[in-house]
């Protein structure tokens, strides 16, 4: 009986744990994915040697494929923690690159 109780308690705990992991992953996929998509699109705009409006349009056309790719990546990784850290560092790096590019572009004008 006691063992049974412990077992149920543990099962509930793992259930809870599993639930939080799912919520975490879904949040990373949707919100983290959205941020990452936008940053990648902005970077594409900066790097494309096209007239400004065309570069923006191209980046936007690609954005949903990027988003899909990111979502699939988030769900394909085994460890949630590494997804989080990889995503955070990529977002940080991209932001730095974009801010630098923007700074230089402003100097150039």
């Amino acid at each position: 009986m006691l063992i049974f109780k412990i077992n149920t308690a543990m099962k509930q705990q793992t259930d809870q744990h599993y639930r939080w992991k799912i919520i975490g992953r879904v949040t990373l996929a949707i919100i983290g994915g959205y941020i990452l998509t936008n940053l990648t699109s902005i970077l594409i705009y900066f790097l494309l040697p096209l007239p400004k409006s065309d570069a923006v349009m191209t980046a936007m056309l690609l954005s949903f494929s990027i988003y899909t790719g990111v979502v699939i990546w988030v769900f394909s990784m085994r460890s949630l923690r590494s997804v989080f850290w990889m995503m955070a560092s990529v977002i940080f790096l991209m932001s730095v690159v974009i801010l630098t590019l923007q700074f230089f572009r402003r100097l150039g004008i």
Partner: protein, 543 residues
């Protein structure tokens, strides 16, 4: 996430598809009907005749009417009845606004022979059904665009993960195991997905591109800056708006529109003019742009631009500008299918129906897969399972029924009722709501096992659906001048097609109901053979 890549993707496909499945069903079905929006418009305004005057006559009466309704306007816009999207002569005007605000706008449908505004019953028509698939009718538009956008993004992920988990995409295509419950639904879902995969991908991706400026505004912000001005600048650059002409504020007579139209027609052939756009009519600086009918998914039409005061041709504008813009235009054009002739339009329609059925099959697959385990639970199925079963009925049967109710309302509501077109729509959504609560209400009224409530709800609603569509041709015959017999004798193909589609829908619903009834009775009384099934009363099912 799970033990393997494919298992993880399968999880994403199953749950991602489930949470937005019902809204996707709604978007797909109403969007599919949108491929025949003008035809539905015409069915819903049976008093209108389809005869039209010549282009010259149409332009003459349109100009006279605009002169009378909107002298000194900023813009006149004439859509002659030269194509499917525009079965009726239509005029639109915009008055000059004050302090940067938009001026008063108006539009009318005209009789192309007399120029009198046509009087038909007030109805949302097919257009309202089509608009529902991205504006969701009651919601503020931005909120609706976001909801539709999020659902479309889920759909895109579901399509890609669906392809990934589908190891033997080619072999499975030829696999169908009927009468095997869950297996059959899986095969059906696979078949419907693969058969129109390019359509599903195209329609989902291009649907997202429609509102990309809403969904991904940060790219514009980072390049053009914030605010409406920055956006305006981006659009001007992207769509390379030609310099906007300012009015000279000197009066001048508008040169002959039909001469300009003739010039355009000599280049494009007859019946090729889609619109005539006149800016600052009556001013010395007036410009007349004549656009051509669409013949390819490239959405922009080539234009001739005239000096409206002299009738002189100024510019022959090609439709195309830059490559990224062309990609966007083609995607949007493919989505809308405005260029499609009748054959291609039917293909669009059936592809849309396949997409709708695929979503429905996926939703049903979800519940059939979990039913055995859920039903074996001692306290009955979980709340979540019950909810999904009910919502499946509410949307998969509810929406087709709601659309039938919309058609019934169109024929039965008083023609002089002032809020007529609004109430047509209210009736649609009330029906949807009633059907969504049908299994719940039924379970309160008649105590039965959960699974019997669900299955009997399906059967009863399918019968109602069958009758709702089956009697539409009769209702049309009784309430309008365009009866089935008259349609046949006058070769009125539009009305004949509607009657046929209503009849086919009715038969399909009826056959499905009968089949489900047989299955259910076989399950309850496995020993009984099908011949005396009818004798089993409902009480016996209750056990």
């Amino acid at each position: 996430m799970k033990s393997g890549f494919r298992q993880s993707m399968s999880w994403v496909h199953t749950w991602g598809g489930l949470v937005v499945g019902w809204i996707l069903f709604f978007i797909f079905l109403t969007g599919t009907l949108g491929y025949f929006d003008t035809e539905i418009d015409r069915w819903m305004k049976p008093e209108l005749s389809s005869a039209n005057a010549s282009l010259t006559q149409s332009l003459r009466v349109a100009e006279a009417r605009l002169q009378q309704q909107a002298p000194g306007a900023k813009r006149w816009f004439i859509s002659p009845p030269t194509n499917r999207d525009n079965p009726q002569l239509r005029i639109f005007w915009e008055m000059p606004g004050e302090d940067g605000k938009r001026g008063i706008i108006g539009n009318e449908l005209l009789d192309s022979f007399t120029g009198e505004p046509v009087t038909a019953r007030a109805t949302g028509g097919g257009r309202a059904l089509y608009e529902m698939h991205y504006a969701l009718h009651y919601l503020p538009s931005t909120l609706a665009y976001w909801i539709v956008g999020i659902c479309s993004m889920f759909m895109l992920v579901a399509i890609i993960t669906g392809v990934i988990i589908h190891k033997k995409i080619f072999k499975d295509f030829f696999t169908f195991r009927p009468k095997k419950g869950q297996r059959s639904w899986l095969d059906m879902h696979n078949l419907l997905s693969v058969i129109a995969l390019p359509f599903h991908l195209m329609i989902t991706y291009s649907g997202l591109i429609f509102f990309v400026f809403t969904y991904m505004p940060l790219v514009i912000t980072s390049s053009y800056g914030t605010g409406a001005d920055a956006q305006e600048k981006f659009f001007d650059e992207l769509f390379s708006e030609t310099e906007k002409v300012q009015p000279a504020n000197l009066p001048a007579n508008l040169s002959s529109l039909s001469n300009m139209a003739t010039m355009a027609e000599t280049h494009w052939g007859s019946n090729q003019i889609r619109y005539i756009d006149i800016s600052y009519p009556g001013d010395a600086n007036t410009r007349v742009s004549i656009g051509r009918n669409l013949h390819s998914p490239l959405r922009a039409s080539p234009e001739f631009i005239f000096n409206g005061a002299t009738g002189e041709l100024l510019n022959n504008k090609a439709a195309l500008t830059s490559a990224p813009r062309a990609v966007r235009d083609v995607l949007l054009g493919l989505h809308e299918g405005l260029f499609a002739d009748l054959g291609l339009r039917w293909l669009y329609f059936f592809s849309g129906l396949i997409g709708t059925a695929m979503i429905a099959a996926g939703l049903i697959l979800w519940v059939t897969k979990r039913r055995p385990q859920q039903l074996s639970k001692s306290q009955g199925p979980d709340f979540g399972h019950r909810l999904v079963e009910s919502l499946n009925i509410g949307m998969i049967l509810g929406l087709p029924l709601a659309i039938a109710a919309y058609f019934w309302a169109n024929r039965l509501l008083d023609v002089n009722f002032s809020a007529r077109s609004e109430w047509e729509m209210h009736i649609l959504f009330i029906t949807l709501l009633v059907v969504a609560f049908y299994p719940f209400t039924r379970s309160r009224l008649v105590k039965q096992t959960f699974i019997n409530t669900i299955q009997l709800s399906w059967i009863e609603l399918l019968w109602i659906l069958s009758f709702a569509y089956g009697f539409l041709p009769l209702l049309n015959t009784i309430t309008t001048e365009r009866s089935v017999f008259k349609s046949i004798t006058t070769h009125d193909w539009l009305f004949i097609s509607f009657d046929i589609i209503f009849f086919v829908t009715s038969v399909i619903a009826g056959l499905t109901a009968r089949k489900m009834q047989k299955n259910l009775q076989q399950r309850v009384h496995p020993s009984v053979n099908s011949s005396n099934i009818k004798s089993i009363s409902r009480q016996e099912l209750t056990q």
